[in-house]
Symmetry: C2
Subunit: 251 residues, 2 copies
């Protein structure tokens, strides 16, 4: 496992790997391989990581990490949506982030999680032992940089959402949520016209700081205004993302 990688650009690492067409077969077809943190690893590192990692399915509603729990593994999201949430002593809950493939779950240099991570939809993750990742992190500045970049992305998203929570109306909040999902649900397609909501009304309410009833009312209002089309409660079509953005107050 030799010395440190020389500092290289992330895209270079990606390109090099594609050119060489090497690495574990599993990783080659991995949904998280491109764009995910693994993109910063060398082929030998990938091979070793692969030896000790395993795929796991997590059904909707199941916990990946509990708030305050100590964590012995990290993982990559391969598909599905994971919600991060916080709860107050009296049960009030707030979803503080949604993670999509190929996001990395877990935080090196931190014993226990400050949030609960729960599968919002049926989800597949690639699970890594903590000690191995910790070693790779300390050996591979590029890998740590990928994690740093992800945490900065999450920070930006959290702050955007603070604006939504603190200053937007219920209608703007619901539109913001739909816009967020439309632009994140499919890693391949930046903005599909049509998709399934990964969250129940209750989850949406917890994400937006609203009640279920208000979410429901605003959804029907958006439907009646022609901003969205809803089928079977979960399936949504957005005729114009631009109009949705506008309703969301994003310009």
């Amino acid at each position: 496992m030799g010395g440190q990688m020389r500092p290289i650009d992330i895209m270079d690492a990606l390109k090099r790997n594609v050119l060489e067409c090497e690495g574990p077969a599993v990783c080659k077809t991995c949904e998280a391989r491109h764009g995910g943190v693994c993109a910063s690893l060398s082929v030998p590192q990938l091979v070793e990581l692969n030896k000790h990692s395993s795929r796991r399915k997590v059904e909707a509603g199941n916990e990946v990490i509990g708030q305050g729990e100590s964590v012995s593994t990290y993982s990559n999201i391969l598909n599905g949506v994971v919600k991060l949430s916080k709860m107050m002593a009296d049960g009030r809950q707030q979803i503080v982030g949604l993670q999509f493939a190929p996001d990395f779950l877990g935080r090196p240099h931190q014993e226990e999680s400050t949030v609960t991570a729960e599968a919002a939809t049926d989800t597949e993750i690639c699970v890594f032992p903590r000690a191995l990742i910790d070693r790779i992190v300390s050996e591979t500045p590029d890998f740590e940089r990928m994690l740093y970049e992800q945490s900065l992305k999450e920070l930006d998203e959290a702050r955007d959402w603070m604006l939504t929570l603190g200053r937007k109306t219920a209608q703007e909040k619901v539109a913001s949520f739909l816009h967020l999902i439309a632009t994140h649900i499919d890693p391949e397609n930046a903005s599909p016209r049509t998709f399934d909501l990964p969250l129940s009304r209750a989850d949406i309410a917890d994400f937006l700081g609203l009640t279920i009833e208000t979410v429901s009312r605003q959804m029907t209002k958006l439907r009646k205004e022609g901003i969205i089309v809803i089928e079977n409660n979960r399936h949504v079509t957005v005729p114009s993302l631009e109009r949705l953005r506008c309703v969301a107050g994003n310009d």
Copy 2:
């Protein structure tokens, strides 16, 4: 026009360093030296950084970095409080973070800021040229790790605040704010009984997603309930941090 640049005496700093082998004199007395990102730098790195850095005063209300502006410098907060905020097209505003000494302002590998940074109080910062920090970052994994750690801390704070914004009542919000200030205003003393609020009522409202009037009403309510004592609008005494925490809904 505050914020005048005061170049540091390079020769003097160098001379002292050579004699004492302990880093630049300025840094030795720096408020941000311990606990700040500079703590991860070697003495030669400190010397070089010091050569190109300068102290600057920023008066309350002045911008440090504008939202969407490109950034050519980074800085460390030496004292004072900096507020990070986002604004919607129609003027609605949300403060998305407060930074205290010895926090680092700015983000390597990112051209323009996604938030506005503005001095909430009169503030002193230590300004570094962008290119130099970028080089030090790429050469010094420990330094980058400090930045990573800070961004994780900010992420945790942002998520805590999302819970506050989304799920707490006005009274809990105001109490949460007072608790936050009490525990952060003084880097020396974790929780002073008495302190000056670094933010105006308008800023507090923008931080809590409330109106000025509601903030004011909740402050007087907390005062009448004996949770806090207020003098001159800005000076607050907290008889029991524990009681305040409780009102804030933190247990």
